[in-house]
Each structure stands twice: as structure tokens, then as C-alpha cells.
Amino acid sequence: MSIWYALCEATHLEFLHMTFMKNALLAVLILAPLFGLLSTMIVTGRMSFFSDALGHSGFTGIAVGVLCGAVQPIGWAVGLAVLFALLFSFVRSRSRQSADTIIGVFSSTAVALGIFIATLGGSSFTKFNKYLIGDILSVTPGEIGRLALVLLGVALLWIFAANRLFLTAVHPQLASSRGIPTEKTQALFTVCIAVVVTLAMSWVGLMVINSLLVLPAASSRNIARNLREYHLFSVLGALFCSIGGLVTAYYLGCSAGATIALYLALYFTVTFFFRNTRQ
């Protein structure tokens, strides 16, 4: 971390004088490519509603963790979100109902259960607000290290399994006919989203986390002509919007997660108007 702090000092940028901003910028530089990458697969696989539901199950996990007396309930959140993801994959593969109906069932149950547990016995809901709004400025070096490990894991998954993941997302039957275990591949990816969503929830906020999982790729699709451009524009867009959002939030004193989401919405709007020039 000392090297990073020294680098920040060397820039002489005013917003990087405070340690918490140096930490937050580093966290954003890790989170942005993570969301940029996951976003491409989530949008291609039409899973944006699903990733939103995973955040809800993470919230339920936090409520369960708090109920059980955990000081750091994020472990409970990850555990419950992974369980939710696997259960959802199992039910979806065995039900004739459409995926969005099943997601609706899981999502509403998770939220209801979370609120039920959080308010059990007249407890105050206030302590959960930080998970709803998120606070990137509170991220610690240890948590940044954990995020870096997750980014490394996702990058390795992309290097070794991106082709299989994409083929499964665009055409499961074609993927299956070429020997790809589509159910396992989908389950692996949903677990991956579950871990990232719940780990990032405390810093980005449950209310806006899904915008980071959808908007980078949705914007990139407006202008990308192939998978290389799709990934490039998604990751770069997420990076620029995240840095821009963090700096703007610092000067305006507002939520960083929400500001980043607004920058991404602007990115979508701009690319939307250029969609026909490249396709």
C-alpha cells in the first residue's frame, strides 16, 4: 500500500491528499474492471434481473449474520448468495417457468426474509443503511487486498473459460452439442456473480450495484462490433465512469456509488447516439 500512497502523493492532486480517498481510488480501480468484465456476460446471458436478485439475497445473508451476532456479516452474505445462486440454477433447469418468473420468486422471498429478520423483535433498520447506499470511502487496505484476489480469480476464469461461458450465454443448445457442460458452466458463473455482488455491496450499495453490472456492457453493445471491442469498451467505460464518479462525489459530498452509476448512465446515453455510426 505504501507504494500506492507514494504514487498518489506524487500526483499532487487535491482529492488524493486524504488516505481514505487513496484507498477508495485503488478499490475503484479494482472494482471497475471486475464489473466491466462480469457485465459483458451478464448482459449477453440476459441475467441483469438475476444479478439484482443476488444482491437481495446478499442483504438477507447480512441480516442473518447480524442476527447470529457476527461482527463482519459479509461472510454470511457471500454464503447465502452462493446458496441462492446454486438453488436458482437448480430450479431453473428443472422448471418450465420462464427464468424471470423464477428470479422474481427468489428475489421477493429474499428481500422479504431479509427485512423480516432485520426488523425482528422491533430492531432498528438503520444499521443496514450502509449496505443499501454503500460507502466506498470506508474501504480498508485488507478489504482492497480481498477485492484484488477476487479480480485475479475472475481474470483467470475469463482467460480459461470465457469461450465456454460466452457460447453457453448466446446459445446453450449449440454449446451443449459441442460438449460444453452448460448447467455447470452457468452455475459456476452465477456463483462468481454472487461472490462479487455481495463483496462489493458494502462499498457500492445494494440500490445501485446492479447499474454497475449492467450499464458498462449495455453501453458497450451500442458501439462494439465484436467481442474484443465489447470487452474493451465495457472495461474502459467502467474505469472512466468509476474514477469520474468518485472524484465528483468527493467534491459534491454525495454517494460515490450513485454518482458512478449516473456517469455510467451518461455513458450509455452517449453511446446510444453513436450506435448507428459503427454498426
Binding site: A162, N163, R164, F166, V170, L174, S176, S177, L227, Q279
Partner: protein, 250 residues
């Protein structure tokens, strides 16, 4: 019948896919009942039947995507049982026009270890061009799959199914969404492929206009095999008239 392959006889001296006593059930509901079918290399077999007849289920069973009772085996020309390699051309309209996936990307995802989000090497591009040349589709390599016409997409999926070279080709409704000119082009191509590579080709179709000209055998399915034989035999049968409610046979 200039399009017919010479080998239309029995299993002797020809590789053969044997489907024996194949049944598929969902709970107590019978989807397919005691299907027995032999398909030889170099043959085009058309699988026809009304909607819900079990055509897709039979294809999925052959592809190994569906549990079934019975046996599906493949035998080489010398009679030995060998591994069946299937090239599958799915029903086409599943690609989202907004997906930024080029034909080259699709091939990369299917045949390469190198991740498709990296710039493809020269060798991979040449390999894909070679695959596309089998269907005269080299010019499609950088087009997005979602923007291809029905006929172009079928040719791309066909080229993909031929890499690695299978010993059986399955096409699910290849003629739907393809104009008449595209249909003829595709069927001529299939005819050329089965002759060049000695493949057996199984295709489902609702378009009977091409059957007489291109298919060696037609199988009429509705839960069980109602009728099988040459296109003329099946199209003129009572079973065909009843299955498609043509109001009496012949």
C-alpha cells in the same frame, strides 16, 4: 434422381447410426415410443411430423442432451461400433441482433483455446476462413452473427458443425426463415457435403417442397414412427395425410 447418393441399401459396407427401441418419457407422459431407425453414411434423412410430434426430442436424445430408454449406436463400414461425432446445426433465430459477436468470434468460442476477447492470431483467422470456404462463406467472417440473413446464418452454423469433421450432421429446421433461393443454395451445399465427406445428414423440416429432390429417406414421426421410406412413398401415404389433416389419403 441425380442428387441421390449411391449408398441407399442396407447396413453392409456402410457406416450406420442405429437407433433401437428408443423411448422418452416425462413422468407418465410418453414423448417418443419405441423408435427404431437406421441411417447410413451419405444419406440425407428428413424427419417430418406435426408440431409436438417429438422431432426435437429425438434430436436431443441423439445429441445426448435428453435421457432415454433404448440404444443409440454408431457402426463404421466394417461393422465395428465406434464413437459418433455429431455436427449440430441448431434452429437459427436464437442470436440476439444486438450481441456484438462476429462470425470469427463464434468460431473462436467453438474451436479455439485462445479467449475470444483477445485479438485472434493469423493462423486462427486462416483456419476459420478455411471452414467458411466449405460453405462459400468467407466474406462473412467479420459480420456480426445477429445481422446475418437466415440463409447466411445457416451456412455459418453449417460450417461450424463441420469443424471438427463429424460423421453425422443434424440440422434442426434449417429451412425455416430462409428464402427459396437460400433454400436451394443450402440444400445444394448439403448435397455436396454428404458426397464429399460421406456424412449421414438428419434434418427436420416443415418444408416438403425440397424432400423429393434432395432426401433419400423421409421419416414421419408422431410419438412413434408412423411411416418411413422414399419421399414419394411417405408423402403419398395415408399416415402423412392423417398426420397433417389433409382430409384422406391419395
Amino acid at each position: 434422381m441425380i442428387y441421390k447418393h449411391a449408398n441407399t441399401g442396407g447396413c453392409e459396407n456402410a457406416c450406420c447410426l442405429k437407433i433401437e427401441h428408443l423411448s422418452v418419457r416425462i413422468g407418465s407422459e410418453v414423448i417418443l415410443d419405441d423408435i427404431n431407425l437406421h441411417m447410413h453414411c451419405g444419406q440425407i434423412v428428413a424427419l417430418i411430423g406435426p408440431n409436438g410430434a417429438g422431432k426435437s426430442t429425438l434430436i436431443r436424445a441423439i445429441l445426448g442432451q435428453r435421457e432415454y430408454e433404448g440404444k443409440i449406436t454408431f457402426h463404421s463400414a466394417d461393422g465395428k461400433q465406434t464413437r459418433l461425432r455429431i455436427g449440430y446445426v441448431p434452429q437459427s433465430p436464437a442470436f440476439d441482433p444486438a450481441d456484438p459477436i462476429s462470425v470469427l468470434d463464434l468460431f473462436t468460442c467453438c474451436i479455439a483455446k485462445r479467449p475470444a476477447f483477445l485479438r485472434p492470431g493469423k493462423a486462427l483467422r486462416e483456419k476459420v476462413l478455411e471452414c467458411l470456404s466449405r460453405v462459400h462463406g468467407e466474406s462473412l467472417i467479420d459480420k456480426r452473427v445477429g445481422t446475418l440473413s437466415g440463409g447466411e446464418l445457416q451456412r455459418v452454423l453449417l460450417a461450424l458443425a463441420l469443424e471438427p469433421m463429424p460423421n453425422m450432421l443434424i440440422l434442426d429446421e434449417p429451412l425455416s426463415g430462409v428464402d427459396v433461393e437460400g433454400m436451394e443454395l443450402l440444400m445444394d451445399m448439403l448435397d455436396e457435403i454428404r458426397k464429399t465427406y460421406d456424412l449421414s445428414i438428419l434434418m427436420t423440416t416443415h418444408d416438403f417442397s425440397m424432400l423429393e429432390r434432395y432426401a433419400d429417406r423421409v421419416v414421419l414421426l408422431r410419438e412413434k414412427i408412423l411411416c418411413k421410406g422414399t419421399p414419394l412413398e411417405v408423402l403419398n401415404s395415408d399416415e402423412f395425410a392423417q398426420a397433417f389433416h389433409l382430409g384422406g389419403a391419395k
